[in-house]
Subunit: 441 residues, 2 copies
């Protein structure tokens, strides 16, 4: 595929290159119904509106073998759930067709490039569109597959001898998260109030109630489910790829002091459920396929059969970055890592999640767990690690320092895959949120 597009100002080095074609839900000031779109360069193609301008026969040329009525129905929804449920073979044809439509030497010139009416109606600048949550998220599960994060946090709380729990190398540890507080890129996040034990050593223990003093981020990769499995029917790890729709960046905001007091014995609750931010554009599984690799984490434990994958390439080399912008407007990149440090692949997570028969549904979201690299503080995916739980300061631009987040701080995650040979880039766009002050009590 020639990597060049007729889209105005198109650059192959855009996050939303022709090699990407991510899907999202947009609205515009003149047409406020949320609807499916794809991103290309600095533009969005409103799929619902575009499909309505083209007759069905011509669409079959672009999307051969696809049930156009079904596709039309799926792209007339306010979320991508129905489209996701069409399955990965359909996503593949649709993405390929859109790539054909958008490349400079497109064989379908009359359907968009040279069709002024369709262009005017359906092609929007990204700066003009409002992004919405791409999926209606039924259930959200957060895993803990970032080995270096799990190890570093374990050392901090239990010492190097017992850093990892005995189950860690045997199964992808995960827990159920809160779906109702997942928000799209750009949504402000309120500093949560919670019960906090300021002095853990004093007896009797006397918690207080107040705004968190340890507001943190968690740099994660999110995975959306496309194909459902029936309750009672596990998904085979070798079939699990067919159940994946695509990927987003995910920031699982965390209040470390609330979490520390509440989490024994049933796990994190109010320390996490006040907000989780995801990037707006879903990068389809096929767009990331060229960037698959073997995990950097070697697991010498003999795996249970249900976790054994067919090949070795289970994870992606997605470069990940964390920017922190303080209220004075100065920005510092405080973390740089890669998703190649995940110890478990998403197919393994899906196989484990469904082993006992738990049904996954289209739109369900799986988080990878915080991703950190093996190096120093600059490779960490959480402030907890960067500051050793608040003991050390992170130095920022503009003479600023931080242990945890202050009101007015913005955190923005970025992620991209780059093929150095071709200059092609597949990126996620932004996953950002700004902290505002807690409820006054």
């Amino acid at each position: 595929m020639a990597n060049d597009s007729w889209i105005p100002d198109y650059k192959p080095s855009s996050d939303f290159s022709l090699a990407n074609i991510p899907f999202g839900i947009i609205s515009t000031p003149d047409y406020q119904t949320p609807r499916p779109a794809i991103a290309i360069g600095d533009s969005a193609l409103d799929l619902k509106t575009w499909l309505a301008t083209i007759n069905e026969e011509k669409l079959l040329d672009v999307f051969p073998g696809v049930d156009i009525g079904q596709l039309n129905h799926a792209l007339n929804q306010p979320t991508l759930n129905t489209f996701a449920a069409l399955g990965r073979p359909v996503h593949r044809i649709v993405r390929n067709g859109i790539q054909e439509l958008l490349r400079r030497d497109t064989p379908f010139q009359q359907l968009l490039r040279n069709n002024e009416e369709a262009r005017a109606k359906a092609l929007k600048r990204l700066s003009e569109v409002t992004m919405h949550l791409p999926m209606e998220i039924g259930d959200y599960t957060d895993f803990y597959a970032g080995y270096h994060h799990a190890y570093a946090v374990g050392v901090m709380f239990r010492g190097p001898e017992n850093a990892l729990q005995p189950n860690y190398m045997h199964l992808p540890v995960g827990y159920h998260g809160r779906a109702s507080s997942i928000v799209v890129d750009g949504t402000p996040i309120r500093r949560p109030v919670g019960q906090i034990l300021l002095d853990p050593k004093a007896e009797p223990k006397r918690p207080m109630t107040g705004p968190t003093r340890k507001l943190d981020i968690e740099l994660e990769l999110g995975c959306f489910i496309s194909k459902a499995n029936e309750m009672g029917e596990p998904v085979d790890v070798k079939q699990a790829e067919e159940h994946i729709f695509g990927y987003v960046l995910l920031n699982d905001w965390s209040a470390r002091d609330i979490q520390a007091w509440e989490y024994v014995p049933l796990g994190p609750f109010n320390g996490k459920n006040f907000g989780t931010t995801i990037s707006a554009w879903v990068v389809l599984a096929d767009a990331l396929e060229p960037f698959k690799m073997k995990s950097e984490i070697e697991n010498r434990t003999e795996l249970q059969g249900y976790l054994k994958e067919a090949g070795e390439k289970g994870v992606f080399d997605i470069k990940l970055e964390v920017d922190l912008t303080t209220a004075d407007g100065s920005t510092t990149t405080i973390g740089r890592t890669s998703s190649k440090y995940l110890m478990w692949s998403f197919p393994q997570m899906i196989a484990h999640h469904t082993l006992g028969g738990c049904p996954l549904r289209p739109g369900d979201l799986l988080g990878s767990g915080t991703i950190s690299g093996p190096g120093g503080v600059e490779e960490r995916g959480s402030l907890l690690e960067m500051t050793e739980n608040g003991k050390k300061e992170v130095l920022l631009a503009g003479m600023n320092t931080r242990t945890f987040l202050k009101d007015g701080d913005s955190v923005s995650l970025r992620g991209f895959c780059a093929d150095n040979g071709s200059g092609v880039r597949v990126g996620f766009g932004r996953c950002a949120g700004t902290i505002y002050s807690a409820v006054q009590r």
Copy 2:
């Protein structure tokens, strides 16, 4: 209100008495669209169909002040979410109106009692209807508010000195559960396969994968949310009653061996997410109001302000029973307790859940946690407690014994409030499920 109804075969001692009027979602062989109904005695009144037979003016007599168009819309849905979202004042008027409609000396004789067409269309025997999940459940949260259960399990695993974690008396401990595997009464439950550590003392630890050997029940009360709170906006404990739609029985099936290996440090996951059964009929909050009482559990800990309720009566005296039926058809009541042993009220759980701003939505489900009484094994809400984690057998009818559940076993929860003065009973109907065999591997 005279406690007698013109409904055929009506008895005030029915679970679904005139004092109850629970809401559910039914379908029938001749009309398969799921739709809202109420239960009365051995009958169901199909509200969607009934409303369609009555003109709007007359409905205003039955439901004074209610927006009839809005009510019609809410009762034309396949779940009760829209009706729940109308708010507790509307639920109160609708329940009162239906009570008036159904009592023997109803002032609305022409609307149903003496209206043959309406009766034929809308009044069904319960034995003829199929029940569906009453709500679309966005998020499911399971608390741990049953004091005697938490204490007994704590003693079993950590000894009496450390039975309760330090946070237990300060906050309603809870965790996020799995919404996708919540099923309605009668749905079969497949024995889950999972990772199990058969010998926890051997080093290195070698888990195996297989069907759970410790399949258990958890006797709980479930609470459905009606009114949403905005993200970032906590619900005051004194306003929390207005956010409650009603209650169901809940069996949080648990695989104790899977849970034991997986749950550190992030809490239960596959040990719980293979299935949760709820009773089909939602008992409205107002129907339980006369049975409110002070919790039997004294908490001498000074509560944080946000957990302090206006009155003392926070819990209900709902008598709870667990029946176990083995494959040979013999039934034993293995547990008898009451929801008065919950240490935290649902308004306290709601205040805690939303303290950091977590949004609750109509249809969200809160579980109480397993409810056990202070007495012997016959007052326990789980086999884990009854058998001391499999060490002792429970004796059953028909020469049977159990430590944990076998394939073919059925467990049925029952719950009811009884006013000994008037003979009035408000009950939940059945919450049952039968175990079938695990996936062959």
